[in-house]
């Protein structure tokens, strides 16, 4: 379910001091259901909001593991397309690599990229609680899909695309002609015939 980001976010965004933006990444490490891995780009573990199976933020809290995660800035180009992002997660104890191997490189699985202000995270006792005025709807959330993944001793790199790019995947012409779908094959044959017929006229 979608939600409107609360006005709190917009208010803090315009502040020029005492602001602490924080970036969180949630990887769904399951092919069949949900097995969220919560990460945060921070110098220690941070308590944040849980996600339900639909990817909506809950009031319940969970621990986001603090890592120096590198993620690209979200951009959109002049055509209105959202560019893909690259996410680099340290391969500590090869945990992430283990998930990749057991889950078919997580191809097509979702990654949530969330931006919030530290003060709007859950508050409580303990060093992982860095929030003071909890407000789960002061979180900007973008959903991406894992297009490819690679791993090394140091890091696991995910190339992520927005859902629009995944849906616009190009199909090779050979596959198209060999397709059992007669309508597409006929359509392409007709197109070629029209092209052949028109070519002499143009010359």
């Amino acid at each position: 379910m979608s939600y409107d980001v609360t006005a709190t976010f917009a208010d803090i965004q315009t502040d020029v001091e005492a602001v602490s933006p924080i970036h969180m990444f949630v990887v769904n490490a399951s092919q069949s259901g949900t097995d969220y891995q919560y990460y945060v780009d921070w110098n220690h573990d941070v308590t944040g909001y849980k996600l339900d199976s639909s990817g909506d933020l809950l009031d319940a809290t969970t621990c986001y593991i603090g890592f120096p995660i590198k993620g690209d800035v979200l951009k959109s180009n002049i055509d209105g397309e959202i560019s893909g992002i690259t996410l680099v997660i340290p391969n500590v104890d090869r945990v992430m690599e283990g998930i990749l191997h057991s889950q078919e490189y997580l191809r097509g699985k979702d990654i949530y990229v969330m931006t919030a202000f530290a003060r709007n995270l859950p508050s409580g006792v303990g060093y992982t609680f860095i929030g003071t005025t909890p407000d789960k709807r002061s979180t900007i959330k973008e959903k991406f899909y894992i297009d490819s993944a690679s791993s090394s001793e140091q890091a696991v790199v995910f190339n992520c695309k927005s859902k629009f790019d995944i849906k616009r995947a190009q199909i090779l012409e050979e596959h198209l002609v060999m397709s059992v779908s007669g309508s597409i094959t006929i359509h392409r044959v007709v197109c070629k015939l029209v092209t052949l017929l028109l070519t002499p006229l143009v010359i």
Partner: protein, 226 residues
């Protein structure tokens, strides 16, 4: 099990073990400096800050400074760095001797916990920071910090993980309370030690013989300090 610099695995008799060798506590004779490091992204116009963004929580750096310590003391530090800290690989507790506070009184709760009365409790910002009640003569005690009443008192957990032999009476009379941080030493921390005059006495765990050394051991905190 807790490791404390520079004695190793702390025992209840206020000594420490490193590879089954028993060591005693000694303070850095030239002092301790510590500071909280803040990660703030500052946008500047000319010399002026026009906007600030906090990038991470503050963490602490500590520096133990030694001048002409005995060879047995240097050997103890070297043993600790190699076996416990593993040159910066593993974390341990470091007492910040630059942040001592003398409690005006020490209350012992019904459950046995200590509640030293402090006029400023800001050093105990989170429960990852331990408290060390320390005296030069009557031993010390290292225990987790539990809760606090801001700028009045903190509660030290004596019923769980708790090390040392200092009594509450001696703490109240002679002791000071120091924060103890879980920290790493920086890689290759004792390379800066310089050799000093030679003392012609026995060189062993109690003798003062051998070359004296001077230098600094630097540490970096593992958890937020503020």
């Amino acid at each position: 099990m807790a490791y404390l610099f520079p004695i190793g695995t702390v025992q209840n008799n206020a000594t420490g073990l490193i590879d089954s060798v028993e060591y005693n506590m000694f303070e850095p004779n030239k002092g301790v400096t510590s500071k909280d490091v803040h990660n703030v992204l500052v946008s500047q116009f000319e010399q002026q800050s026009i906007s600030t963004r906090k990038k991470a929580n503050p963490f602490i750096t500590l520096s133990y400074e030694y001048e002409n310590i005995f060879a047995r003391e240097y050997n103890q530090i070297e043993h600790f760095v190699n076996s416990i800290a593993q040159g910066g690989l593993s974390s341990f507790y470091v007492i910040d001797f630059s942040r001592g506070i003398t409690p005006s009184s020490v209350h012992v709760t019904a459950g046995g916990n200590w509640q030293p009365a402090l006029s400023n409790t800001r050093y105990w910002a989170n429960t990852k920071i331990y408290a060390c009640a320390y005296t030069a003569t009557y031993g010390w005690r290292l225990a987790p910090y539990l809760t606090k009443t801001a700028n009045a008192s903190i509660t030290i957990n004596r019923s769980g993980v708790d090390y040392g032999d200092l009594t509450s009476t001696n703490f109240a009379t002679y002791g000071k309370l120091y924060p103890a941080y879980e920290a790493f030493c920086v890689p290759d921390p004792i390379a800066n030690f310089k050799i000093g005059p030679h003392i012609n006495q026995d060189i062993d765990l109690t003798g003062d013989g051998g070359y004296t050394r001077s230098g600094t051991v630097a540490f970096v905190g593992k958890y937020p300090s503020v």
